[in-house]
Symmetry: C2
Subunit: 309 residues, 2 copies
């Protein structure tokens, strides 16, 4: 099944301790789609300015993305500039210019309104509501958010959770949202507000999926070289939701595989600037890393070990 | 096979956001043995003062520990007092009194000198060398250390690595030791100094084992209530080395299981103050949690997923 994805379509300038990229394509909708289109078609809704190099998103179209929901308006595209610290785990935002994104009002094209799978990237919860109001009968709504909205739009966000089946956030965000330091309790708190599935991303430490009465843990893939962490979370979401939509299932076995595909996509995304690593990524490479994930986590229990003292 | 364990035998006063414990038994040798004796006999070497409630270590003896290497001297026992912050991930040391531990010179009883498995708890690397000098032909030496020794006794520590088969440290320590932020590179650096196995503990984020050309990841067990994190690392080491000694093997499958047993023991240790949770822990509970670890990490790969674009 295809996925309707609404989020930012941005230009990023990124500095790492090793290199620098200037005004490269990014944003939650772009990273999400770059990962998800490896699994299933994606319908993208967003807004860009006149300065946006739309031709650089052509690779998405060639693998099944419908970009007709990306509106181009007069003005500048959403721009973010940031600098990563030496360990790549923390970063400073150097500049944010909302540009045409400041007045973004998602208009879902008629052809997209029947979407069964919806991914709401990190935008104003009021706009996330607007999107859902325009979709006829979504089956699986997955949603991201950030500390800024948790602070400033808490009521709208809590209300949104009642319309969402999968919340995908990072560990700090879920703790802030629930007002609870313990991740397990924080996830349970969120589940009471609506989402049956809570996925908590922990950066290099991996991610945890909390379902009703079970949970699943996937590590971060141990890489010798993390080149640029930008977009890892949205690429994770793209692999996760992309796989689920491709199989059209929310069964436990599929949710588990989806977590690993998410971590695979996040791990590839950080190997280059922008979506560069995902553009020509053969599906075989995804399967190779999937097998590596299995290799670094699998063990056989050995009944009868230890001493029965 | 039994394990020779040399480390601190201490009294701890611990404050958490929830409760307080005063002068309870602790120290690396105590936590290690409390976990390891669930798998195999342990020979303990350490020093305590006149004030030490040795009767509280009787439970170790009943499950096969030989405590004849614990010397009782006139003076006070090693004492540590600490307070954990709200999230339990960070703590302040309120007081450290070395007492008789300041002059600790490990004397390995004749009966222990044939030990094949040796665990060197976090003590002065010079003393760790002394221990190894007194052991005839150890097959597996596992060793812990800390930032203090990495700073102050670097030469002795690097020299020690050449005599060690398994280094068990936390993520900050291995980064500091190798002068390298990337964990994978840091572990490879350590391996060049001697240890074929590097185990990196990451607290609630789990632990990674680095072998020659493979690695293995175990998550931290997601607990609703972490009561007192003190001793989690040494309990992990006790489960890890304890299991390996019990099977007398360093085969990959055993190393993987050892990692999970380590994480199981660490997860139980933090459920109560001191070693309280480990005293009467039935082995059946260990197997139950082992199965839970399998449940939260296992997935089936699904060849043929995705789109071959």
């Amino acid at each position: 099944m295809s996925i309707l994805c609404v989020g930012s379509v941005a230009l990023d300038s990124v500095e790492t301790p090793f290199a620098k990229a200037d005004r490269v394509v990014g944003g939650s909708a772009v990273y999400f789609s770059a990962a998800a289109t490896l699994f299933t078609p994606v319908q993208v809704v967003g807004v860009v300015g006149e300065d946006y190099p739309l031709e650089q998103l052509e690779f998405l179209r060639t693998r099944g993305a419908d970009l007709s929901g990306i509106e181009q308006r007069s003005g500048e595209s959403f721009f973010w500039a940031g600098r990563y610290h030496f360990d790549l785990n923390t970063r400073d935002t150097l500049e944010t210019k909302l540009g045409v994104f400041a007045d973004f009002e998602p208009k879902i094209p008629d052809a997209f309104r029947g979407a069964r799978y919806v991914f709401l990237g990190n935008i104003d919860p009021a706009l996330q509501h607007d999107v859902l109001d325009q979709v006829e009968s979504p089956e699986v709504v997955a949603c991201d958010t950030m500390n800024y909205w948790i602070d400033s739009s808490r009521a709208a966000l809590l209300d949104l959770l009642g319309r969402v089946r999968v919340l995908i956030v990072n560990d700090e965000e879920v703790r802030q949202l629930a007002g609870e330091a313990n991740l397990l309790k924080a996830a349970r708190w969120v589940q009471k507000k609506g989402p049956e599935i809570v996925v908590v991303k922990k950066g290099e430490h991996g991610a945890i999926l909390f379902a009703d009465d079970w949970l699943f843990f996937v590590p971060g893939f141990p890489l010798e070289e993390v080149f640029d962490p930008t977009g890892a979370g949205d690429s994770f979401a793209g692999g996760f939701v992309g796989y689920l939509a491709s199989v059209g299932s929310m069964e436990p076995g599929d949710l588990r595989r989806a977590m690993v595909y998410g971590s695979v996509m996040g791990s590839y995304a950080v190997e280059r600037f922008s979506v560069d690593r995902l553009i020509d990524l053969p599906f075989g490479d995804i399967e190779v890393r999937m097998a590596q994930f299995r290799d670094i986590t699998a063990f056989e229990t050995h009944v009868g070990a230890g001493r029965n003292v």
